[in-house]
């Protein structure tokens, strides 16, 4: 019997998810034993045309990481959807837009303007500003590059997704758990399930001691020396733990850093940022509007903090252009 076929792809991503796959260490050999790897651009030499030639639904498992922000990302997403039986949105970017999704705070025009015109590290020849053109026609034919989209999207806003594995990146033990489950041939969970994560919040895994929260002031991590045993939020550091799914083992709080929210919203929560507003509002210890405003002023960059990984997948998806 031939081995099941495995494909891995990266769209708009940093490559960290690929490293996380390799971080299962020698077990990667078990993966190679169990699967026939048919497509993995970052590690092996395959061409898009190799995939185009495959029969539909011939790939048994596709781990797709990265957000969708240009026409190439989307094209390969459509292609892999057609060729795959089970397609997994792997990592925060594919799951909910991730860090690339923060581009939704601004516009394509503004990004291009900075990158190709105003960036201090730019050397403009003859003062000419050149913006990338999707199509360039020259004497001997046309030259095409992918077109960047105005709005970054999560994978399931573009194609149908079977499963999700959250995390930036997903922790290797969880990746291995999912792969092992699939290799063992056990029945798969229902479509749309979030794999390799828990059903509670990051706080449930966190070892720090929690008391009743009553906050008069917020701090950024560098502004105070956080006590190592106490809940970071109790100490006034904005920690995304209450609005984040468990599964990572609360790695960041264990290293004295607040949770960044990479495992996405917990079950039954659609919008991580809204949930964080709700959570923090409940623990602010003030009743006078002026005092409340003063306390809120201390929260630096609410959008970037509360929606660090989930902006593209949030209820409003992007900031409106003015």
């Amino acid at each position: 019997m031939s081995k099941p076929k495995l494909a891995l792809y990266w769209a708009a991503s940093c490559g960290g998810c690929e490293i996380a796959v390799l971080d299962i260490h020698e077990k990667i050999l078990d993966v190679a034993n169990a699967f026939d790897i048919v497509f993995w651009p970052v590690a092996m030499d395959f061409k898009y045309d190799d995939v185009r030639k495959m029969e539909d639904k011939s790939i048994d498992l596709c781990l797709f990481n990265g957000a969708i922000r240009n026409s190439e990302n989307a094209e390969i997403a459509y292609l892999l959807r057609a060729k795959s039986k089970a397609l997994v949105a792997f990592g925060s970017c594919a799951f909910e837009g991730g860090i690339p999704g923060l581009a939704n705070l601004t516009t394509k025009d503004d990004i291009f303007k900075f990158v190709y015109k105003e960036s201090p590290s730019l050397f403009l020849q003859d003062g000419g500003v050149v913006y990338p053109q999707p199509l360039n026609t020259m004497a001997d034919g046309g030259l095409e590059i992918p077109e960047m989209w105005e709005t970054v999207k999560a994978l399931d806003q573009v194609i149908d997704v079977d499963y999700y594995i959250p995390g930036c990146p997903p922790v290797p033990s969880q990746i291995w758990g999912v792969i092992e489950h699939i290799v063992s041939g056990k029945p798969l969970p229902p479509k749309g399930s979030i794999l390799g994560a828990g059903v509670k919040t990051c706080c449930d895994e966190c070892k720090r001691e929690r008391k009743e929260k009553k906050l008069k002031q917020f701090f950024r991590p560098y502004e105070i020396e956080a006590k190592p045993e106490e809940c970071l939020l109790d100490q006034g550091i904005v920690c995304m733990g209450p609005a984040t799914r468990d599964g990572c083992g609360a790695l960041c709080p264990a290293a004295n850093m607040p949770c960044r929210g990479c495992y996405g919203p917990p079950p039954n929560v659609k919008d991580q940022g809204a949930k964080m507003v709700s959570a923090l509002s409940s623990v602010i210890d003030a009743q006078e509007p002026e005092e409340i405003e003063k306390i809120l002023d201390r929260i630096a960059d609410p959008m970037g903090t509360f929606y660090r990984f989930s902006l593209a997948h949030s209820i409003l998806r992007r900031v409106e252009k003015s």
């Binding site: 573009v158 809204a274 949930k275 507003v277 509002s281 602010i284 409340i292 992007r318 900031v319």
Partner: protein, 149 residues
């Protein structure tokens, strides 16, 4: 056709909803633009309810609860008094005019106040005009940016 604001009103069961009811039985005329959703407490209004209202086409959202000190659950509206100003900041960061989100206190006996606030808010939203968000068009599309394979 002239613009008619669509407004979602989250009214607490114990004070504001009863206040709205009083406005009705007292035959006080007020703008018909507010679609009322009854919640048990203004503190029950999760920020995602408000964002969802904007997502599916509300031009304005008003949250109404008991006056401070009158909450049926003792301190539910003290959560609201922190939550809505916080949410206004977020709404503003999303590029939506924060005036489109309002928090008001209406007691069960203030039918006239309810009618007055509804009229005032409707006029304010009317002057702000319809709210258009890119997510509105996004949700109407059947297939997002189709690409040939």
């Amino acid at each position: 056709m002239a613009f008619e604001p669509k407004i979602i009103g989250f009214l607490c069961n114990w004070c504001s909803y009863t206040g709205a009811d009083l406005a009705g039985v007292s035959r006080i005329k007020s703008a018909p633009n507010v679609r009322v959703i009854r919640t048990m407490c203004s503190g029950r209004v999760d920020p995602s309810f408000v964002l969802k209202a904007f997502q599916i086409g509300a031009d304005g959202v008003v949250v109404m609860g008991c006056h401070l000190g009158d909450c049926h659950y003792q301190e539910g509206n003290y959560k609201t008094i922190r939550r809505i100003p916080f949410l206004k900041r977020l709404v503003k960061d999303f590029g939506i005019d924060p005036r489109r989100l309002r928090l008001e206190w209406v007691s069960a006996s203030e039918g006239d106040r309810f009618a007055h606030l509804v009229n005032e808010f409707t006029e304010e939203i009317r002057s702000l005009g319809p709210l258009t968000l890119s997510v509105h068009t996004e949700l109407r599309k059947k297939t997002p940016e189709a690409v040939a394979v």
